[in-house]
């Protein structure tokens, strides 16, 4: 058997499970319920503009928070000894082995008005916080769930940077801060980019977190699309159109993030 035949199963797989669904989404988006071609589905979407804005805004905020928390964690981790690194990676990955719903329910009971957090605040004599059913709760849930997907790619890029480069930078007159600014950070950008990709994309289309922690008050694109397919508002054509537009915006966004990352990488030090 020639090596190129090995790829056939994958091509078939991709065809059935990737290309075909996208094809159907596109077809649905441009047809009416009766199967006639139309642009009506896109025209009907304008009333959901606030949902689009909210989704991208919350996903953006979550991604930024994930970078702010995840990057230092990844950096500090990479400088620890081998054993500490292995243990910490275990601890970071461990929650992912638990069911996603369970984890989110746990946050519900923490953030509830009579939940753990408010009981703790009351114990300290502080006023209670109303977090549950607000965008804040949704962001907390997303950051918690997606943080490992920021830490791991950044960490795996930083640990692979040759230590002798840090020494070379020091040798050329760089103090610790300069070593970070001129060597570690620019060289870790590819990790940050894939982290953004892995956090932002699922964050935009998230839906269970919004229902559990947002209490249906914080509707995002994922909920909207779900409603069109499974909910009371049954309208798969509209759902497909929304999904398509969301995909388009995400692709454009990622394109610019990548462009920015590449040009930044080259420009550092200039």
């Amino acid at each position: 058997m020639k090596p190129k035949y090995f790829s056939i199963p994958y091509i078939v797989w991709m065809g059935i499970f990737v290309v075909a669904p996208i094809f159907f989404v596109v077809v649905y988006a441009f047809t009416t319920a009766d199967g006639y071609p139309t642009l009506q589905n896109f025209a009907a979407m304008s009333r959901f503009t606030p949902v689009f804005i909210r989704s991208f805004l919350l996903a953006f905020i979550s991604t930024v928070i994930c970078i702010l928390i995840g990057y230092p964690v990844a950096y500090i981790l990479s400088r620890e000894g081998k054993r500490v690194q292995r243990l910490m990676i275990m601890l970071i990955v461990l929650p992912m082995w638990m069911n996603f719903l369970l984890r989110t329910y746990a946050w519900m009971s923490i953030l509830e008005n009579t939940g753990l957090l408010n009981r703790f605040l009351a114990f300290l004599g502080l006023p209670a916080l109303n977090i549950i059913n607000t965008p804040t709760a949704v962001v907390i849930g997303m950051v918690y769930n997606f943080l490992p997907f920021m830490i791991l790619p950044v960490y795996s890029v930083i640990v692979k940077i040759d230590r002798s480069l840090f020494e070379a930078a020091q040798d050329l007159g760089a103090n610790n801060f300069s070593v970070f600014r001129k060597v570690v950070f620019p060289m870790s950008l590819p990790g940050v980019l894939s982290g953004i990709m892995m956090v932002f994309v699922p964050a935009v289309s998230t839906f269970v977190i919004t229902q559990l922690l947002g209490g249906g008050m914080v509707m995002m694109l994922g909920d909207l699309i779900e409603m069109q397919f499974l909910g009371t508002a049954y309208n798969p054509q509209l759902g497909s159109a929304i999904a398509l537009v969301m995909m388009f915006i995400v692709i454009v966004f990622m394109y610019f993030v990548n462009r920015f990352g590449q040009s930044d990488e080259k420009a550092v030090g200039a």
């Binding site: 040759d162 002798s164 020494e167 070379a168 050329l172 007159g173 060597v183």
Partner: protein, 389 residues
């Protein structure tokens, strides 16, 4: 007298209780080309890293220009390093790699002028013959070119001392020779002190003003290349620098030594009468003569063509010598030898006596030597190795 620039006093270094440097005392003069020479694990790179500031000695002091610098971090030392694997910044192009140090420099708190940086980098590109390469991606350069970038990146900062950690180890033979000449001429032109680490004795002899031979974390000998070659202090140095036949001898009196029951004239003096000694005879110092007129008679047991000369192995009374000659002496030939007095070098018996200088297992020994030269490639290929019996 030359001005002293760096001094190490009683330096001792250990990792996890394993001593890697012991009792190191060394001074290095301004504008000197000094080589730390020794086999892998002898402590030469550790010493370089102590001077560079990447390691602190467990005890002992490091002085730079008379100031103790034990606690000065690398970025504040007037020293630049060329690392073994170059350590170029792969996210930067050639120009930005070379400009890295200049952009960090502060003159009374002010950054260097952009034009000055540009001019100095361009100047340096010319020195290392990489004009026109400034926009290139360093990962796309050949080994030799990357090496030049590493040299330029260090030299552009005009350091007082340049530390070179086996900088030519990854280059092929031809390129190595060219770079040796280039480095030497750069050193002479700039007047920068070079501290050069290598395990290649030929390289050390060809380039250095001073050679420091190390083994087991201890300095074995310090001297000019000629001193080290002609007057090795012990069997280790004699064996490590070039090829040596090292045989037991007895010093009868000043200028007379007995080897294999025959008396030879030599130039060495100052030994006790009848003192047992190590006698070093370089393979090229042995003259082959007809058996009748030779002082010693032996039988050729092996021959290897080396280009300019033949390496022949000659059996004298069961002890095998390496002799280099331009004459063809087939295996089995009986030959006689003569040695001029200045071809014989007498050493006191010491810790290394009897460990080196016997060519009885000649082929194995040569394997070891070539292993050392290709150490880096070797690591991956170790499993492919086999020994034919």
């Amino acid at each position: 007298m030359a001005k002293e620039l760096i001094r190490l006093t009683d330096c001792r270094m250990a990792f996890d209780n394993e001593v890697v440097l012991n009792n190191i005392n060394l001074y290095i003069n301004d504008k000197e080309f000094l080589t730390l020479l020794g086999p892998s694990g002898c402590g030469k790179t550790t010493m370089l890293r102590i001077i560079g500031g990447f390691l602190k000695p467990v005890s002992g002091d490091v002085f730079f220009d008379g100031v103790r610098i034990n606690d000065v971090p690398p970025h504040k030392r007037a020293v630049n390093t060329i690392f073994q694997k170059y350590a170029l910044f792969t996210h930067l192009n050639v120009f930005d790699n070379i400009a890295f140090g200049l952009r960090l420099q502060r003159n009374n708190g002010n950054k260097l002028d952009k034009f000055e940086i540009h001019n100095r980098v361009m100047e340096m590109l010319e020195v290392v013959s990489l004009k026109g390469f400034e926009k290139r991606d360093v990962t796309l350069l050949s080994g030799g070119q990357q090496q030049r970038v590493a040299i330029a990146r260090a030299l552009v900062n005009k350091p007082k001392v340049l530390l070179l950690d086996e900088p030519l180890g990854a280059l092929d033979m031809r390129l190595r020779k060219d770079m040796q000449n280039e480095l030497k001429s750069i050193q002479q032109a700039t007047g920068i002190t070079f501290i050069y680490v290598t395990h290649d004795q030929e390289e050390a002899l060809a380039m250095s003003d001073t050679v420091v031979v190390m083994e087991g974390g201890v300095i074995q000998q310090i001297g000019t290349p000629e001193d080290i070659y002609n007057e090795p202090k012990n069997a280790f140095v004699a064996d490590f620098i070039g090829e040596s036949n090292i045989v037991d001898g007895i010093m009868h009196s000043d200028g007379v030594v007995e080897i294999f029951g025959r008396k030879f004239k030599c130039l060495d003096k100052g030994f006790d009468p009848m003192e047992p000694v190590d006698v070093v005879i370089r393979p090229e110092d042995v003259d082959i003569v007809p058996p009748k007129s030779g002082k010693l008679k032996g039988t050729v047991t092996g021959i290897t063509f080396r280009g300019v000369l033949y390496d022949i192995i000659v059996d004298f009374h069961g002890f095998k010598w390496l002799i280099q000659t331009t004459d063809l002496c087939p295996v089995g030939t009986k030959i006689g030898i003569k040695i001029d007095p200045d071809g014989i070098h007498i050493m006191k018996k010491g810790a290394f006596s009897g460990m080196y200088g016997d060519y009885s297992s000649y082929s194995a020994e040569y394997d070891e030597i070539s292993d050392a030269e290709h150490e880096q490639d070797q690591e991956d290929e170790e499993e492919n190795e086999f020994v034919s019996s």
